[in-house]
Symmetry: C3
Subunit: 273 residues, 3 copies
């Protein structure tokens, strides 16, 4: 299944519309290209509806939110909804400011999301209306441990029920749920938290995978989470072998997505449910 | 000739003003530095005229166009025109939205461009007022093949006649024309389409080359297209040798521009006319 | 002392708020992570006060200044001042346009800065109200030579006296002064001027170091300048060893910050006073 989803991305080359932050936008564009899709970044209110209408999916990322782009996000989201295209939300830093938290709730109110991906603090904010984020990172108190896994699943399920979206909480173990099924994904490496953009890039890849597999949002999301995590593992090993650091790791992470194939993916995936 | 143009960039270190998108802006700044020039990115209406006036050339790229920067592009363009400095246009995604298409025509109406560089779909939009772009990539139907080369040249000539600019259509074979002469450049590698920014970076390098060679816009453009294409080839070989992927390729692409010298350029150039 | 400052960054993982330019923002985020701190980029007027209040320091960089973010800089700066958090200024391109020069003076008037870091032309602009910058680079006439070092120190002291900030002039030899003491730092490599963002990244690292060491702004600044310069040296050697160019150098620069430890720092630092 996962291999077929990946193959579809390479064959259909979906066009993925991003309204995203200016910190990691280049990485997002490059990883979307690396996995075989085609990115377009467009955020002006005057064009987002038109751009959304020619694209296969839409990724909304609130990483450097500003007044100008909030209306664009809502307009693009509504068009994508009308056309039945998957819309993915990355609520970067929800809980860290009233603007971000309020905007996330406004987005959830006006746009139907297919997938929402965040860290535990961000998803907690979506569940409870507030959270203790450490800026754009998960608060230490929120980090998912073996013992708190049940609570994290309950949180993700809660948000999934309220929104109808597949919900992803990324951390040491990633949780993907559509409130019925739950998948635990153990791929990934802690180096991913030492570069900016690991989360944003995963959200972008989810957008690419869902863009090529409209009818299989849950499986596409699982596949994207696995692929990204596996890239993290492979990039780490290559980084160590070449005596590199975090910037080298970032380069290899995108390289690995570019070189990922069905055999590697199948051999490396660590999914439990 | 081409070697002298390249040498002038390194000796004069022209200052290149960019009003550009936030996706590939870092790559553009780095490749301009790599080829020996000095970039300055400035897009606020309140300063663009002053910045344009201290610079040797101006690059306008509509990649993440927004209402705020359109006026800045026009103001900066007019100042550069008055001072006789080359102005380069990259009509990213022209044809993909009304905003982009309309803005390109407004820019062409109010600013005189020395060089326009785009993919076939974008240049078709400039010729006909519309085009079938695939987001920011060339539409499949538009891709230049051996048999359609004549049509592509006619298109480029048409735009060159209408605008007075040297027109570049990049693709498997790059076409450069000032409506009298035509050059076909066979340098380059298909990996360049698998990273974001190859086109934007070429446009930036054209800005740098023209900035150091005001009187030789056509030759500077040909030199920049050759240099960038050759970097693509060299970067590809080094990427393969180090078992890298797209992100490694991007790094090597800029590295190669930094290490390009007259001997390498002369030995590697593949120009026909 | 310097080792303890570096250790505090890794142990306290300070949250560093950046209002910065979109050219080098990704590099700034990554180098802040590489040195052990946590970056958050937020520039909308509606959230900057809240974000500043949860952060350990604030970095203001005017690299792609625009009307929208000037008010944000002032609001965030005032909150950080009230809470006693270090505020760092990078006056990119001050002197290159009236907007930049005026904004810098407005910022100095309304916000108390702990550290100001610029090249000689930018600091001259702060001292005299104008300067001859070459865009965002130091003007050739301004470059600090052995014979002009005294004049540069006088300039830095003057700005330090007027503003109460520790002032850093970066160049072949970096000067750090709080108008009483002066440190000359001979770490660094000329390759750093051949990539975009060396200066911005240093300012970001100063923000991280000061964020973890509120009571020792002068020493933290010296430590950051040394660490960054040493990374430049180490990255250069690794670049040569792998036959790389400027983009490889940029990758290694961030790698080296990620791998920097107290032993390397102590062994490599070149400080005179």
């Amino acid at each position: 299944m996962i291999e077929e989803i990946m193959r579809n991305v390479k064959e259909k080359r979906p066009l993925v519309h991003h309204i995203t932050n200016y910190v990691t936008v280049n990485d997002c564009a490059n990883i979307v290209l690396a996995c075989g899709a085609s990115p377009i970044m467009a955020d002006d209110e005057a064009e987002v509806e038109e751009i959304a209408s020619i694209c296969d999916s839409l990724v909304i990322n609130i990483g450097t939110l500003n007044a100008r782009t909030i209306e664009s996000m809502i307009k693009a989201g509504k068009v994508a909804n009308q056309l039945g295209r998957p819309v993915i939300l990355d609520p970067v830093g929800a809980g860290a400011s009233t603007l971000r938290t309020d905007t996330v709730f406004r987005l959830l109110n006006e746009v139907k999301f297919s997938v929402i991906r965040g860290n535990i603090s961000e998803i907690k904010t979506l569940a409870h209306g507030n959270g203790d984020t450490k800026g754009v990172d998960a608060a230490d108190a929120d980090v998912v441990t073996a013992t708190s896994r049940e609570a994290a699943v309950a949180l993700a399920r809660n948000v999934s029920k309220k929104t109808g979206a597949v919900v992803v909480i990324t951390g040491a173990t990633d949780i993907v749920t559509d409130h019925k099924d739950v998948f635990f994904i153990k791929n990934g490496h802690e180096m991913m938290a030492q570069i900016t953009g690991s989360g944003c890039m995963l959200t972008a890849v989810i957008g690419a995978y869902c863009g090529a597999n409209h009818e299989r949002v849950m499986q596409s999301t699982v596949a994207a989470v696995v692929a990204m995590g596996l890239c993290g593992e492979l990039a780490y090993h290559k980084m160590v072998a070449t005596d590199g650091g975090t910037a080298t790791f970032r380069t290899y992470l995108i390289d690995c997505m570019n070189k990922m194939n069905e055999t590697t993916l199948k051999a490396g995936m660590k999914i439990e449910n």
